[in-house]
Symmetry: C2
Subunit: 315 residues, 2 copies
Amino acid sequence: MQNRITELFNIKYPIIQAGMVWCSGWELASAVSNAGGLGIIGAGSMYPNILEEHLQKCNAATEKPYAVNLPLLYPDIEAHLELIEKYNVPIVFTSAGNPKKWTSWLKERNKTVVHVVSSARFAMKAQDAGVDAVVAEGFEAGGHNGRDETTTLCLLPIVKSVIDIPLIAAGGIGSGAAIYACFALGAEGVQIGSRFVASEESSAHINFKNAVVDAKEGDTMLSMKQVIAVRLLKNKFYDEIKALEETGDVDGMVRHLGRGRAKKGMFEGDMDEGELEIGQISGAINEIKPAAEILEQLIREFNLTKQCLGKMEDF
Amino acid sequence: MQNRITELFNIKYPIIQAGMVWCSGWELASAVSNAGGLGIIGAGSMYPNILEEHLQKCNAATEKPYAVNLPLLYPDIEAHLELIEKYNVPIVFTSAGNPKKWTSWLKERNKTVVHVVSSARFAMKAQDAGVDAVVAEGFEAGGHNGRDETTTLCLLPIVKSVIDIPLIAAGGIGSGAAIYACFALGAEGVQIGSRFVASEESSAHINFKNAVVDAKEGDTMLSMKQVIAVRLLKNKFYDEIKALEETGDVDGMVRHLGRGRAKKGMFEGDMDEGELEIGQISGAINEIKPAAEILEQLIREFNLTKQCLGKMEDF
């Protein structure tokens, strides 16, 4: 099976592992790329020297294409861009910022550029900026979220209707059936985060991986909308932030968030004091597995869903 | 095409028009049922004498099965139940309350009973109460919404995994492609609200229908979570409620909501002072059409999506 996404990235399966702070280093990215998907190193939580180490190791671990995710608001972005050039990273996913700023710089260097959006308006802006594809990420996704709260089911057809470049779906996708559903809505690829947090190769702390496996439906909530909207797994820190949110105490939220909360939770495993970013679909994730097995399962489920629905009669 | 939903309701297409306050009276319900779907009269905004009039007219307008939606917290519910018996309504959709209370009463009278839920926990409770099917309604839906904010894409597979009775998807469904996507996720039927608000037969005020057609992605928001979570089209009333919400003024919200806001907006057409309940998918609705044409278009799109995806090679 080939489509515009497998051709754009030169990969076997149109399944992309999301770049995620503290969870997706070289080990996860190379495992996914070696298994036929597209692995992404999440540079948002890395100082330049750390990113350099991950790029060296990823280049040694795979000959397949992989990508780096760059939040465009990252303060040290120029250092990151230099490293992407130095280590010949072929694909860059940008997010959280204006795609106009760096897209042409990257395109001049023959990089494939994808921008992550959460609304139709920004999808059009990204296309105008010259990116090769967009990721449309719904409200159910973990991590940083859009203001409009549009869900993947509603976002995909609306974004599809305003762009010509290929559409990658993100948010709420943890099974092959969900990939198939996104293809029905016009996507040609999917970006999957939460499912890969609970992989053996993810750099998430084992406590966080176990918490993702234990999570049930209803255990995450979009939080801190007035500061920086982010979907969190409910814990002590979430409860404290929620209490501040309900009284409209924005300054209190900023103070309480402070610095290093995400690292403390996701990387160091403090399940009470840490900020735990994860998607709603964590409620359907029940096992930590090697990334290659996750990919195999997604593909098996996709083909099975296709087969079952193919047997259905027309309306 | 037959499945457990078409057989349960004795209908041609597993497409159900949602019962909606102020929008779905006998005209819309009978039009949908006559076209091969299942029409629902939304009793939540009707006094018993009004409901009786709608039942008389619906019985005269169609010989096909139709249903009544009963919010279980409705104060006059016993009068409504008597009317359902008197006028031989074959199917009852219950929502917003405990399904234990009336399900056995309805089953003893040979009614088909469906309960609307927004979480896996309540889906199990509904099944235990003896209902024949559940509607799982995601965060993107208009009207009253669950506390967990789980989206349709995440909710369907999780609910599917905990029930044996048939699953009907709701929230974010405005096209045949979306119906197909929901079937991929395990649904055997869909309940569609917003799309039918913008139908010729809907009892919504023309101003509201036009506002739904004009709505863009990002124009609705889940609101009043601390009072009664409801998805609203953004207008002057929404802005005022939002300002109160941000300061945590729950009493102020209750006072400002007052009584009759929904009728004022959706039925009387006051686009500034009225409460306008609609789903996120309104951003993809661009035309007011007869209900039968909407149904035909959904079926055409469903078959087309099935055909396109069927041609795709396996992974």
